[in-house]
Symmetry: D2
């Protein structure tokens, strides 16, 4: 039997708190799970610094990747009898689902921002490079790694396959909403996935939803909206991310400044600081490594680096206030000046962070990052875009909501001498 079709003699399962069991029959999937690159995802948290806000959120990307695979597996089981579905696409779907986050590094969001990375590029590079994952995929077929990469890259010819993994109601989102809700313990994030899977239909190049499932999809969109504002954009989490970003900036700055001597040299970071990162270097840097450096750097000579690391490691975060830099630009400048005057370097101790979410959008050709709309399928074969039928989806559709917060170390400000003019000015502005 060709490797592509090889089945395990007995189905294997992973116990999963969200989907109960994750089922594996294909030898290819089993082998992929066993690769070093996939196992590495155990050492990257799904939600980065969120565990500092919601202590249950320690789950890894390994967790989530298996979950996305399982959802796609169930969708395809439902599709077996659908004439519009081409069963020969099954394996590429399952592999792409499993591997779609393979390129995520530690604290992806912050690392991507500071070092100008794109985790999707690394996903491709790992799939196509000299890796165990690549070796497994090549056993299927010489071109198979490229196929999998194309699906993840959204350039695969069969757009229906792409939309299983990346669309506004894809397996990726369905897994993370439920999983992140489960591990944080919040009551949002749940929706009737079983129903959505039952009403999903392949139709030409897209996944559509039978109209009878409209309310289940509405509920899913609302879950997404709630999770964004309640969990993903939580200001305490963002405060930790601000500090993380500042640590990376400071370490890079020190690395490039000739005179500073690290007690612990940032070996694992060098290629990042030099912006020449090989796949091999990239794979070596997981969250344990990052934490190792931060823990040691708590005692670095550079007081800013040491202080920021102590804050991150011991969860001694920055405080925040609402602050829209659009309206309060002048105050922001004054604040920076007052910080500098008080001896608190504003480059590292003051940050405006903005979050914004577009919970659902319909197609707006020509715009950056076009999003495929969700279409409802009527018994007569007609398709209608979701927001035309749902008031509540219409209400949030295409509306970007933004939230700005200013982060600062309240303790340092309070420690300034009472008579300090800078302190007074700072407190005045912060009070608003």
């Amino acid at each position: 039997m060709p490797y592509r079709d090889e089945q395990l003699t007995e189905e294997k399962v992973f116990k999963d708190p969200v989907h109960r069991y994750i089922h594996v029959r294909d030898r290819v999937i089993w082998d992929l799970v066993g690769t070093a690159e996939f196992q590495r995802l155990r050492r990257v948290k799904q939600l980065g610094t969120t565990n500092l806000t919601f202590h249950g959120a320690e789950h890894s990307r390994f967790n989530h990747s298996l979950g996305v695979y399982e959802i796609v597996r169930r969708i395809l089981e439902n599709f077996r009898d659908q004439p519009e579905w081409d069963p020969s696409e099954r394996l590429v779907c399952l592999c792409a689902a499993l591997l779609h986050d393979l390129g995520h590094g530690p604290f992806s969001h912050s690392f991507e921002k500071v070092f100008d990375l794109d985790h999707e590029e690394f996903t491709r590079a790992i799939i196509l490079g000299d890796t165990e994952v690549n070796a497994v995929l090549r056993r299927v077929d010489e071109g198979f790694p490229q196929d999998v990469a194309d699906v993840i890259n959204k350039t695969y010819a069969n757009k229906l396959v792409v939309s299983l993994i990346s669309s506004q109601i894809d397996a990726d989102r369905m897994d993370y909403l439920q999983r992140d809700a489960y591990f944080t313990g919040v009551s949002y994030g749940y929706f009737d996935m079983e129903r959505i899977l039952r009403v999903m239909r392949p139709l030409e190049d897209q996944l559509v939803i039978k109209e009878s499932g409209m309310h289940a999809v509405e509920d899913y969109i609302m879950s997404r909206y709630q999770m964004y504002w309640q969990v993903y954009f939580h200001p305490v989490t963002r405060s930790a991310e601000v500090i993380l970003t500042k640590i990376l900036h400071r370490a890079m700055h020190l690395y490039h400044s000739e005179k500073y001597q690290f007690s612990l040299k940032p070996l694992h970071f060098e290629s990042f600081f030099n912006k020449e990162i090989s796949v091999e270097d990239y794979l070596k840097l997981d969250e344990n490594i990052v934490y190792y450096y931060f823990q040691i750097w708590q005692e670095e000579e550079d007081e800013i680096l040491a202080n920021l690391c102590r804050r991150f490691v011991n969860r001694d975060l920055f405080k925040y206030i609402e602050f829209d830099p659009g309206n309060r630009y002048r105050e922001l400048i004054e604040l920076k000046e007052a910080f500098a005057e008080a001896g608190i370097d504003p480059t590292y101790y003051l940050e405006v962070d903005s979050s914004s979410d577009l919970p659902y959008d319909f197609y707006r050709p020509g715009e950056e990052e076009e999003r495929l709309p969700i279409h409802l399928l009527f018994p007569n074969g007609e398709l209608k875009e979701l927001s035309r039928l749902s008031d509540i989806v219409e209400a949030i559709s295409g509306k970007k909501r933004t939230d700005h917060k200013l982060y600062f170390p309240k303790d340092l400000i309070e420690q300034l001498p009472e008579e300090s003019q800078a302190k007074k000015r700072i407190l005045e502005i912060l009070r608003g």
Copy 2:
């Protein structure tokens, strides 16, 4: 107001997936949570290597410690109107509950075994030493750190207080059973805690259970029994622990052998290898640090250390068979010889691991590690020991069940040349 009685201006909560919310009103508790030593528990997994078997089990001891605190807080709320309860013991109970696991290091079980440690000693040392935790406790009262340590140490005068944290139906066990069930996703581990809390009564120096709650307690004992065999003693988890133990032994061996030069020196382990561990050194070693070394050591020159580290990091574990060394002692010796002959060092590649659990025991004076029985309280004031009333508890009471497994690297054996006599002998014995 004295620090002991100080309340937060507004109650704080932590969202918790198991108890929904964890409520904090006392300033002392809030301050303890903020200490570096307590925050460190975020970097120690509650279940060590179990996440290699149950991928959801990534939760930390920080999680669990808050949970135990919350259960004790709820018990004491129920006790408010009980004449046998002395309300002045409240704060010491809450602090002991929160801090009872403070001395846990990374992969406690394995570290304790290899280095002859006792995490309870470290808990005491951290509470009584020069730490942030100690400073907070001392603000309550000079003798307060000692009181908290005594409760955890089970030497506190008021045994009722002790039994909240350590007895056969204490807050510690009630939290971890539910929490570990939640994060692993297994359906065992649940029981009606709310009912147990409602029927718990303080009575002289022990916690007793109103007889009407007997079945809830039975169910709790059964949950414990199931969790031990289904989760805590899972052979895949134990396989990972075997490898971990071997890594520590090998690194210690190399450290003490004069000629070996580590590419990455085991700085963080030195005091462990020399068995002279200060609290400061101990606190520095968390699971991130351990992982850091193991990841780097994958490329050490010593092939055994490198191979074991690669196995641990990439979850390439030992296989196992049932093997009772009591009956098969001679075969075990032969196996070691055959391993040695085949060039696979049996010291690092062969291990019999035995697990055993005593799910419930009544009092047997004079035995090592006496366990306080669970008493049921009848309306007429009479007390009866649980196993006298419950058939199923009686069935497992005092019965130690032991399970022996032999762990070995199947891949290395399979790679031996076909004609190898040692290989044949090994396979023969393993087949049983």
Copy 3:
């Protein structure tokens, strides 16, 4: 001790699937639960005919009434330390919560419509009349029954008390959404009630929500919206209600027509048919009694009554299509004519049923049925109306959504002879 303050020697609990336990300490509450009028609520389903659509929905109003009581009890426990809360109002709140649905008869919605009843009037009449409930309440104080009735009637002086039981975020709604979701098994209907209770504050004459709880309230409003469209207005349920209504109309018609002789006289319905209903008669009619008649009437001589009863008892319901009588008024008339021509009495076999919901509304003075808005309380003491802060609430706020369906017996139409002109015309119109 006055009866008002009397406590049970030991707290009693009811096991409840939704709130886990319902706790009773007050003798008055315990005695009320034991009255015949309250026990009668066991024989009235919470959701009428919904169990014909969702088979789990067999729960009674007894269930729900205990649940509302429990929620109010928890709210008041949180209010203990709130200076704006008057603790002497506690008992009237608990009693009103428990008894707020006391006047519900069988299949309330349909009965109220057909017989022009108002269950709230009956609630008052039972509380103030010669009943066991009244006797218990009078033991508290001569005027106490009136106080309880006033709270339920929304005429009680202290509007804060009223708003616990009837407002847009009251204990009634919070219970039924969760309870109906639990018993139907739908995934909508859940929200974080524990959080909402934590952020509720008494403020002068209203319940307000601390601003930090905004998203929990949003989620609650969305749950309500989903439950209305997914459960409460489900067309199959409405079909059963249409038939029920028709049975009542037909039986009343036959009762008033002089010549018809019932085999089973509608004794229990007589006062309803004559629209002179005493409290005593009202209390005697529960769902078992109604079912008894319908079962026997399956064999009445009158074919329409018998047929409708058979349909109801055996769940042989009417089919439906979307049909807006505003646009299709002429067709509706034609349809009636064709039905009559075909010998299917349109009075009993054709019905347009419209459902509409106003999920949330802010204050619009002067309008019929004004609804109190939900106010969010900011740290600075400011109050803002919910829909001004929440896009999604704003989207559905004040917007009545209506759904029209036409119900008809498809089987009877299909049995008409092929050549029937009426049949052709009927099918044509139904096809749209």
Copy 4:
């Protein structure tokens, strides 16, 4: 296509709180659900009088029957690839699962006891008689009704088919444990059914369990044990059953006594009282009908009947004490005498009720009601009986636990005059 194989054009689902969805594809199943006899199960509660103890337990046998069908459906889906499974047995399995409780009447347990009925006989009679169910089954094949009846009757040739519906780990038990736990709200009753289904294998004439699933089965047996003692044998439920039994006895007694004239004649009960029950009569008596009589009979002239009915309808139950009639036989006689002397008829107001359960049993040939043991299947093909491997199952295996309680109307005794000698004697004996 033959009716046997006919599929619905689109799968239908029932929303179910326990199994999430119940899936129907077979036309035969869909038609059976629509029959009057199956719909009647909506009017028979699954747990009789248990809702008087656990108010959530209002679920019907309709509920449960669909659940058993769904479990069998899932088992057979897993069996598709098992060579030992004969796929032509599929439909008879599904029909037998759906219809296995068809003959349950109202409050089965009590009715069977009083009138010497056997619900299984009625199940057969309904399946084989002139009913809608029979008509549907006959469309499959003339002999099909008999096949279905044989499976339910355990006389079907293929014992493997029988054991799906009736064995110690059958679909019936798996459904009711979970369902009754869900609706009562107790935390017992859950187990990992998904895992059990995964490890079930057809093997010759029995269902066996792969050894790796041993702990899941243990947990299921424990759930059963807990549900029996916590829910099914709850003394409050049994008190209601005692009263129900007494009502039936009293009404039968009055019916047979020549002089008594009922205000409401027990028409529906006549054939029961005369022990000549036709299927037609049997089907007419559901719980609504029974309640109707009991409600009206609250005002019967016979004071005993009226009093018992008032107690049942208003949940004014008998109290109870532990009382083993084996040891206290003489006291029981004295008690009856004292009751008689005090004018409280002991025939209707005094009852010893005993419950006993045999949670698991292995095969004991020759004993009445032999029970098939649960066998575990080892990788080497060996079978071992469960209790030989599980300590806790062994502990309760074959052990019947019995609980005796004496029920009496405490209020009537208390109302006796203080000076009554009978009263003193009664209280003395009851105090024990």
